[in-house]
């Protein structure tokens, strides 16, 4: 092999290395992005954030059912304490807890086998 041929071959390798590096870089980036997506999805599911997310498919129809959170009035954390303050607190407290007075929510009867038509058929005599 002549010197000229050797130089030519080295030049050829130098030309191809950057392209190979770009391919490695792209594959690496995709793998890192995939790993980050996996981590964020697992956090989204395990933290309970998914249960509060109504932008998920199938929840569009019920998005309007969510009440705005800024309607709840805060009781002042500082100031003197006397009979009037306690009365004011009790009045505000009773008013604001009214929305959660109903304890029928999440009643297990909604998933009753009979209501869903999944109970065992009646035995014929």
């Amino acid at each position: 092999m002549t010197d000229e041929t050797l130089h030519h071959s080295e030049d050829h390798e130098n030309v191809h290395h950057p392209r190979r590096n770009i391919v490695y870089f792209i594959i690496g980036s995709v793998l890192v992005a995939f790993a980050l997506v996996l981590v964020s999805m697992s956090l989204y599911i395990s933290s309970g954030a998914a249960q509060l997310d109504l932008s998920r498919p199938g929840y569009k129809a019920v998005q309007n059912e969510v009440e705005p959170s800024d309607t709840f009035v805060s009781f002042p954390a500082s100031g003197e304490v006397n009979n009037t303050v306690i009365e004011q607190f009790l009045k505000l407290f009773r008013k604001q807890v009214k929305s959660v007075d109903n304890t029928d929510v999440f009643s297990p009867a909604a998933l009753d086998e009979q209501a869903l038509g999944l109970d065992s058929p009646p035995v014929e005599n």
Binding site: E67, P76, A77, V81, F93, Q96, T103, F106, E113, G117
Partner: protein, 182 residues
């Protein structure tokens, strides 16, 4: 030494046998008839539709409840407790109720998450191909929904307890609250 080893082995075997027996008995008592499986297959698509609607309407109910329950703790209970502490009143009973309330709120959230995951699993199932698994999953999810409801009942009870606690506090500290502090 050998007899001790033999006794321990016998004890272990007996434990496994005795703990295993009720499980076998339960499985046997819940064996499904072909008619029941056929009924599940026939009605499961309609049941899936109902379950899907329940699942969709549960979400805003949970979001609203979770928000209000948190606000009751954060914007009412914690603030009154802090105000009483700053004014050097003994509000230990109220603090304890508020702490129990926060623990129950955590239970409510985790119970709902478990229930919601099970509902999503049901909706992904092919109920016609796996009718028995589908039926078992519905029953399990019903139990998980019961736990969410129990947490709701417990939270309501603690809200009432806190209100009664404030009323008791008012009676106990009537003199101080009227401005005659000792």
């Amino acid at each position: 030494m050998k007899s001790v080893f033999m006794s321990l082995t016998a004890l272990l075997v007996a434990t496994f046998v005795l703990t295993g027996l009720p499980v076998f008995a339960q499985d046997a008592s819940e064996a499904m008839t072909d008619e029941h499986i056929a009924r599940i297959k026939a009605n499961c698509q309609a049941a899936m539709g109902t379950i899907g609607r329940i699942h969709a309407y549960d979400a805003p109910t949970y979001i609203n409840r979770n928000q209000t329950y948190f606000s009751i703790s954060d914007k009412m209970m914690a603030r009154l407790n802090a105000r009483l502490a700053v004014n050097r009143f003994d509000a230990s009973a109220l603090v304890k109720t508020a702490s129990n309330y926060n623990d129950t709120l955590t239970q409510f959230r985790s119970a709902y998450k478990q229930y919601d995951d099970s509902m999503a699993d049901i909706l992904r199932m092919d109920c016609k191909r796996q009718p028995v698994t589908f039926y078992d999953k519905v029953r399990q999810t019903q139990e998980e929904r019961r736990k969410v409801n129990e947490a709701v009942l417990e939270l309501k009870s603690l809200i009432d307890q806190y209100e009664q606690g404030v009323e008791s506090f008012q009676i106990q500290h009537a003199a101080q609250l009227s401005g005659v502090r000792s």
